[in-house]
Amino acid sequence: MESATSTKRTSLMIGSVWLVLTLVVLTIGFRQALFLSPTDAEQGDVGRIFYWHVPSAMLGLVFPYINFVASLAFLYLRRRNPLAALTADAWAVAAAEVSVVFASICLVTGMLWGRAVWGIWWTWDWRLTSELLLWLLYVAYLMTRRMSTDGQTSTLGAIISVFAALDVPLVYFSIRWFRTQHPSPVFGGGADSGLDPSMYPAFLWNVLAWLMWGGFILAFRVAVERRRQRLDQLEGLRMLESDIDNFKLGGEPERGNAF
């Protein structure tokens, strides 16, 4: 018990320090992006959206991989080592949620930028479309978890995750072919092709900041999920130990038959 509380305290401390550092870097990134980086000649100030949009897009592609690897680990460990499998599941669900958050930001900032620069909110360009589908796939993953019956959530989630991971590259390439055959007029100019060296500091600070933030929120979410799992187990144990008071007479006779 002594060591358990001390490790808890250590991880809490590491977490807080990490959070403070992240906030500092986020502030630097914010200042760089808004005040120090030069205004884009073509796009004006709205071009600064780039510093949030692109890091979010990049991270939105990283977290699905974590989800996929964790899901595979879960499927492998499910019968062999149920406790380790639970940890893998915590990582999977956290990574999926964080993916959806970053993909949502990517979509919304992208739309705001598009309206100001292209004059339209949305175009079915391959990049936008694939990002939207990525978002849809991981929302479907989270919905499946929500709707699944007790005790099967993790397995069903892991299965959907494998399908989603197989789907993403196919979506990416197919939509790219599709939209290459009908080039969208808005993407003729190549407004963001190449990165001016003057933009580097702001861009890199923001990538670092959001990477740190992403790592923090992922680890935090995993910790919460682990805690929830432990509480669940504790509750189960209590149910087993408490004898009569929790027992509903004649309760759930059909349970055994539920498929």
Binding site: G236, D243, N246, K248, L249, E252, R255, G256, N257
Partner: protein
């Protein structure tokens, strides 16, 4: 039937089933609580108890249809999922297609049970149906059968797979006294069927409310209460 006679089963062989500290939770409902039990091969175990006492869940655990929340279940020396085909399970539900006739249902499951060059002579659908007292040539779909007939078809389904471990959930529930008595005799007879492959005897675990019916054949009678064995 196989003609090679087996020597009388040796008492000190692997048990048919071992449950070690098994608990099963459905959400916050504890269906089985920390249950440990060894079922000897070649015996008939009768489980008694009220609705919700955990009898059905225990059978489903033994069948490998559901995994224990804690503890381990071993049937015929391995996890029940790896002993498919050697365990048969009959539940409250008939586990048959309503639209097919008894014969069609049984033939379908016979194909599924045949793996490799399995001996087709044992457990042919026709013999199984005759054994439970049904006409194999009845063309009516199972959905139009009476409760009792469906129950007997369901029993034929499990018997034809020639299982070493037979799990029966309320096998007498919808039967009149005569046919229930007939089934009891059939089960007693089933226990003596020879097995190819050197196993040490057929094992039956059944749950029932009608204790008086099963008493005559039971080697062991257990009463379950709130997910544990009380007697």
């Amino acid at each position: 039937m196989q003609t090679t006679e087996q020597a009388s089963p040796v008492a000190t062989t692997t048990p048919a089933a071992v449950l070690a500290g098994v608990s099963k939770l459905f959400g916050t409902f504890a269906a089985i609580r920390n249950l440990s039990l060894t079922i000897k091969a070649g015996t008939i175990t009768v489980l008694l108890g009220q609705n919700g006492a955990g009898k059905s869940t225990l059978l489903r655990l033994l069948a490998g249809l559901t995994a224990p929340t804690r503890g381990s279940v071993t049937v015929l020396g391995d996890a029940p999922e790896r002993r498919r085909g050697r365990i048969a399970y009959m539940s409250h539900a008939p586990m048959l297609y309503d639209e097919l006739s008894a014969m069609e249902n049984l033939q379908y499951f016979a194909t599924l049970n045949a793996v490799g060059g399995g001996c087709d002579c044992v457990g042919s659908p026709e013999m199984a149906l005759r054994a439970v007292g049904l006409d194999p040539h009845l063309a009516k779909p199972v959905g139009q059968y009476s409760q009792g007939m469906r129950q007997r078809t369901s029993l034929a389904r499990v018997l034809q797979s020639d299982p070493e471990v037979l799990l029966l959930d309320e096998p007498f529930s919808n039967l009149d006294v005569g046919s229930a008595q007939h089934i009891v005799e059939l089960l007693a007879d089933f226990k003596t069927w020879p097995i190819h492959g050197g196993a040490s005897g057929r094992t039956i675990v059944l749950t029932t409310h009608q204790a008086h019916l099963a008493e005559s054949i039971a080697d062991l009678t257990l009463t379950m209460d709130r997910g544990a064995i009380s007697r």
